[in-house]
Amino acid sequence: MNWGDVLKTAFDLGTSIAGIVFRAIQNGDTSALDDLRKILKSPEDIQRLDEALIHAQRRKAEMKFEGNV
């Protein structure tokens, strides 16, 4: 079975995996880390951004009760 047969089978089955296989063929031999960095924040960034959101929301509350909102 070659890539074409695999894709045909995937489409025949009507599964979303067909798209995955297609992208895999398109991507070729790319770096998984590079691909991941394009779309997913690091663990540290996730926690940093969440802490920043907590502080931003707290600041909005401060401004409301200081009469600035």
Partner: protein, 170 residues
């Protein structure tokens, strides 16, 4: 649906038997798709917190009231944040394994990586679905689909995986 995905991945794995290096791009694409799913969940998680704290601010009579009531909300938010950061870490770990085996396919390592991702992604979904303090984070169907693909991948690589549930998917 899951049966079809499992069948196809079994077909894929069988078809790659003569050339195992072809398995890696498929594993990589599933891992990257899972990364996209986690990023979507992180966005929804932040939106849920913002809505909850905006509502709390509106109904609070003073900053002291806000500070008192936000404690439990922040604790739940941080628990979710921790779960998502673990999911991110497991995906970056899986990606590192994939990159380390670009010249030499390693199905056993792929299986360990996919199982590790599932092992933190599924508990993360449970934490996000817990609406006891913060409203449950809406789980997009794409996310549950990715988990189905990961489960199928684990099975096709020789691991075991329970049937997927899409409970709570939008």
């Amino acid at each position: 649906m899951l049966r079809k995905v499992v069948l196809l991945i079994v077909l894929l794995t069988a078809s790659f038997g003569a050339n195992c290096s072809s398995v890696r791009p498929v594993v990589q694409t599933v891992i990257v798709a899972a990364g996209s799913a986690v990023q979507t969940l992180h966005t929804r998680h932040q939106e849920t917190y913002t809505a909850a704290t905006d509502a709390l601010r509106q109904r609070s009579a003073s900053l002291a009231d806000y500070d008192r009531d936000v404690v439990s909300i922040n604790a739940a938010f941080r628990a979710r944040s921790h779960a998502l950061s673990l999911a991110s870490a497991s995906l970056y770990g899986a990606a590192s394994i994939l990159d380390a085996t670009r010249q030499n396919s390693a199905p056993g390592q792929y299986l360990a990586a996919a199982e590790a991702v599932l092992g933190v992604l599924e508990p993360a979904l449970q934490v996000l679905r817990d609406g006891s303090v913060l409203p449950a984070v809406p789980i997009p169907t794409d996310v549950t689909n990715v988990i189905s693909q990961l489960r199928a991948l684990v099975r096709s690589l020789g691991g075991t995986s329970a049937p997927v549930s899409d409970g709570g998917a939008e």
